[in-house]
């Protein structure tokens, strides 16, 4: 099942056959494992399978947060530990069926609480998240050790009453393990292909871009954290009954956290099935080599597998199948022409058909926008208007604040002062994903595609989370349409790294278009292109405009600016120094001075 399925996952639109095959297989596996005790397998087999289930559940739950978002938690033991101690403390008085959901809830709450604090840190780096979770585990362990939750000597689970389903209660533990493991696989698979998963993978590749495209990154990370820690809590709650003696040193030892990382990395942390493969490999290895020196040999093999997987299999064992498929696709792609054909567009001359400026409605108004970085006034009380349907040129020398203004309008930076009114609503302090959903989209000067998503998936993220806010199935149609529009249809399954700069810039345009944005901000789309490519890009901008869409066009290439724009605003040293029709503005002495420097005092 693994081979045929995992190769499917680079195609966002899973064929309808596989859409039902995997759930059917998961259900079949669950039924099989639940029925298994009826055939009286040898007792060791049941406990081996239980161990396998335990590690599959734990590793899979880790992957939902850490594998999918790229924030590696080194504290997964904490959530598992919360589950363990929930059962250890409550199983005497409450039925186990109460303990499991309470464990899940407590663990998920802890996860959300931790996430709510640490994800507030802007641009929290992966290493710091790892250290934070590690430190939190140790603090939690110390608190549990020193309070009646444990008290020091550990907790025995003696009076736990388990319902006897087959012949003995040990089998009940096995059954709970089977259900938790299969359930966590089902949840992980659902997350991966859901809207949530699309957002998480985008976060993992480039969190800032994900946010600007409309992914509510903070909420999604918390959600993933809650699901991940909740499952770990249930797995721990069952494990406590299995081991029947819970101690702080065993529960919170680094081993748990590190083993789940190891399993996921070996199996593949960006795929729902990866951790299960890794867990099976490591558990069987440990089970086969139990005693003395051979157990040590197994540890050496595991350590080496971890190193080799990191070096050679960045997507784990699952990645092997993916890679094969991509290699299969690649020759066809390279045969395709390097640059897309120039879209057939008749260029209209500058100044022709410019609608009377004053009649156009203002859709975005900036009032006194200011922003300083460590004393450098990047924007100084800038007032401007963007009118519906116009192509507004935003020009100025290097360092004049153009990109900063784009960053403020897209919510990337929050201004120190001033208001930004979109249809009267002040969005100056709104989160970037909210601004994206209101229909403001931008491109990046240096294209920033999600490197590990295909070209098609890159565009889908924009369609799903931007102003269009489409369902996944619709977003595929939209994404294909937009890729065809910019001439990248044949490269839909390629990875961004296989595109040239020109194509990557067009990919940025496709993302902006797919989001159905009302205002499109193009940040130096022509920079770095050859003259021929510039011509095709100018034509493309005109097509994007289509006579109706509002465009903010940041550019140094004056030919393009004069040719394309209806109106210009000029920034210099963070101040707005001129505004008006392109040719008039370019002749303004203040603008000439800004570009060429002040004439001599006498001159």
């Amino acid at each position: 099942m693994s081979i045929s399925m995992s190769s499917q996952n680079i195609v966002p639109a899973r064929a309808s056959a596989t859409r039902f095959v995997v759930p059917a297989l998961l259900i079949a596996a669950t039924v099989f494992f639940v029925m298994l005790p009826a055939f009286k397998p040898p007792p060791f087999f049941e406990s081996l399978l239980y161990l396998l289930f335990f590690w599959i559940a734990l590793a899979t739950s880790w992957t939902i947060l850490s594998g999918f978002t790229g924030y590696f938690s080194f504290g997964h033991g904490a959530f598992y530990g919360v589950g363990m101690y929930t059962t250890a403390n409550l199983a005497g008085t409450l039925s186990i069926w109460w303990c499991l959901p309470i464990a899940a809830l407590l663990a998920a709450l802890l996860g959300v609480a931790i996430g709510a604090v640490v994800f507030r840190v802007r641009r929290l780096r992966g290493e710091l998240f790892a250290l934070l979770t590690l430190a939190l585990t140790i603090v939690l362990a110390t608190i549990i050790l020193n309070t009646p939750i444990d008290g020091g000597p550990g907790k025995y689970l003696l009076g736990v009453q388990l319902p006897v389903i087959y012949e003995n209660s040990a089998t009940t533990i096995y059954l709970m393990g089977a259900l938790v493991a299969m359930g966590s696989l089902a949840i992980a698979r659902w997350v991966q292909y859901s809207r949530l998963g699309r957002g998480l993978f985008a976060i993992s590749d480039d969190e800032d871009v994900a946010e600007v495209l409309g992914v509510p990154t903070y909420r999604y990370k918390l959600l993933a954290f809650a699901i991940s820690s909740g499952i770990a809590g249930v797995a721990g709650a069952v494990q406590a009954v299995f081991v029947s003696y819970v101690t702080v040193s065993e529960t919170f030892s680094g081993t748990i956290a590190l083993y789940v990382i190891l399993m996921s990395v070996i199996g593949g942390a960006r795929h729902w099935l990866g951790p299960a493969i890794g867990a099976t490999f490591v558990t069987l290895l440990n089970f086969t080599f139990v005693s003395g020196d051979s157990a040590l040999a197994a540890r050496i093999v595991i350590g080496l597998a971890l190193i080799l997987a990191t070096l050679f299999l960045p997507e784990g064992v699952v990645g092997l199948f993916r890679k094969r498929r991509l290699a299969h696709v690649q020759p066809a792609l390279e045969a395709a022409p390097a640059a897309p054909p120039v879209p057939p567009v008749t260029l209209r001359g500058a100044g022709v058909a410019v609608a009377p400026q004053l009649e156009r409605k203002v859709i975005l108004r900036g009032e006194g926008i200011s922003l300083a970085f460590r004393g450098v006034q990047a924007l100084d009380r800038v007032d401007f208007e963007i009118r519906e349907g116009e192509i507004l040129g935003l020009v100025g020398p290097n360092g004049s604040g153009k990109s900063t203004l784009i960053n403020v309008m897209s919510g990337f930076y929050k201004p120190d002062g001033g208001r930004l009114l979109l249809d009267g609503e002040n969005i100056a302090r709104a989160p970037a994903h909210h601004i994206a959903q209101l229909g403001i989209a931008r491109t990046f000067q240096i294209p920033r595609p999600f490197p590990r998503l295909t070209v098609l998936e890159n565009v889908m993220v924009a369609a799903m989370f931007g102003g269009a806010s489409m369902r996944q199935t619709m977003s595929i149609v939209k994404a294909r349409e937009m890729l065809a529009f910019v001439g990248l249809a044949e490269r839909a399954q390629a990875l961004p790294s296989q595109l040239n700069l020109h194509q990557r810039k067009f990919l940025e345009l496709a993302r902006v278009l797919a989001s159905d944005a009302r205002i499109v901000m193009l940040d130096e789309v022509l920079a770095g292109l050859t003259p021929a490519e510039i011509t095709s890009a100018i034509a493309m901008v005109r097509r994007i405009h289509g006579g109706t869409r509002t465009i903010v066009f940041v550019e140094h290439n004056m030919r393009a600016v004069i040719e394309l724009t209806d109106r210009l605003i000029v920034l210099n040293q963070g101040r707005l120094i001129a505004e008006g029709a392109p040719r008039e503005v370019m002749d303004d002495p203040a603008v000439v001075r800004a570009y060429l420097g002040a004439p001599d005092a006498e001159g």
Binding site: R123, L124, L128, I261, R299, G303, L306
Partner: protein, 282 residues
């Protein structure tokens, strides 16, 4: 709490902190200058400790000879590890995973050679206590603290006042420009890696002198040392000493006031607050 008890607590905190600084110095350097978060550093420390136990303890070799032999040996090990890391161009994040894999292997190898049981190296040369008033100063701790703090200051001076240190810092800011001024970046990186390895050897020697060893103990200092390294500032030996002593002393006082089992709360709460409130520091 009596003054003597408090004094003795602070003193033991200073000694513990010195060891954190000694172990953390190599980590701090490789994190800052190599962008390698080296979990294998702890395995190196323990490997050096076991070699000290084996040769100085079991085989009766003069401990100073052992220490002198370990330093160049671990310098080479550090260089070798860095050559591999550069060869595979491992980024900062993957370095955690890869060096953790190395540490797992090292732990298994140590257990294979020396068993999982606790072993103790009884050192005679640095035995006994010095008494000053009512306070006791264990000789071995004193020597270790002196060397640890001395090494931190020496590394700080080397980074700031020698050509090598300046070249290293220039290379970190901008490798291309530094290279065009004749800075041999690669060789400097290997020098840092070797020094970190050598520092692990010194740390390991004193771990063997001061503590009972078991392979399972490899990561017992992981958390505190990380806290000290981050709190002190990466690649800042003086900050490291200050942070280590702060952590050591606050731990010791916590232990004396409440119970020893509460000790970990202090450094990790400091670490968490630091990471959440001041993330740019790293």
């Amino acid at each position: 709490m009596s003054a003597t008890l408090l004094g003795q607590s602070i003193l033991s905190g200073i000694f513990a902190g010195s060891l954190y600084a000694l172990i953390g110095l190599g980590m701090s350097l490789s994190w800052r200058y190599l962008r390698v978060i080296n979990l294998a550093h702890f395995a190196f420390v323990f490997f050096a400790a076991y070699l000290t136990y084996e040769f100085a303890g079991v085989r009766g070799v003069n401990p100073f000879v052992v220490a002198l032999a370990l330093v160049p040996l671990f310098f080479l090990l550090g260089v070798l590890q860095q050559v591999l890391i550069l060869r595979f161009s491992i980024n900062e994040f993957s370095s955690i995973i890869v060096t953790y894999g190395l540490a797992i292997v090292a732990e298994a190898v140590i257990q294979l050679i020396w068993s999982a049981d606790f072993v103790r190296y009884e050192n005679r040369a640095m035995h006994g206590n010095l008494a000053l008033g009512t306070l006791l100063f264990p000789v071995a701790d004193l020597v270790m603290a002196g060397i640890a703090i001395g090494l931190c200051f020496a590394v700080w001076a080397a980074l700031h006042f020698t050509w090598l240190g300046k070249a290293l810092r220039a290379g970190l800011d901008n490798p291309q420009i530094a290279a065009s001024f004749g800075v041999p970046n690669q060789r400097l990186l290997l020098l840092v890696a070797g020094s970190a390895g050598a520092l692990a050897a010194v740390g390991g020697f004193f771990v063997a002198v001061l503590y009972t060893l078991a392979p399972s103990q490899i990561f017992s200092w992981l958390g505190v040392v990380f806290a000290a390294v981050l709190l002190g500032g990466l690649g800042n030996p003086i900050g490291l000493v200050a942070a280590s002593l702060l952590i050591g002393i606050s731990e010791a006082i916590t232990m004396a006031v409440t119970a020893p089992s509460w000790a970990p709360v202090v450094p990790f709460t400091i670490l968490i607050l630091l990471l959440v409130l001041w993330p740019e520091r790293v």
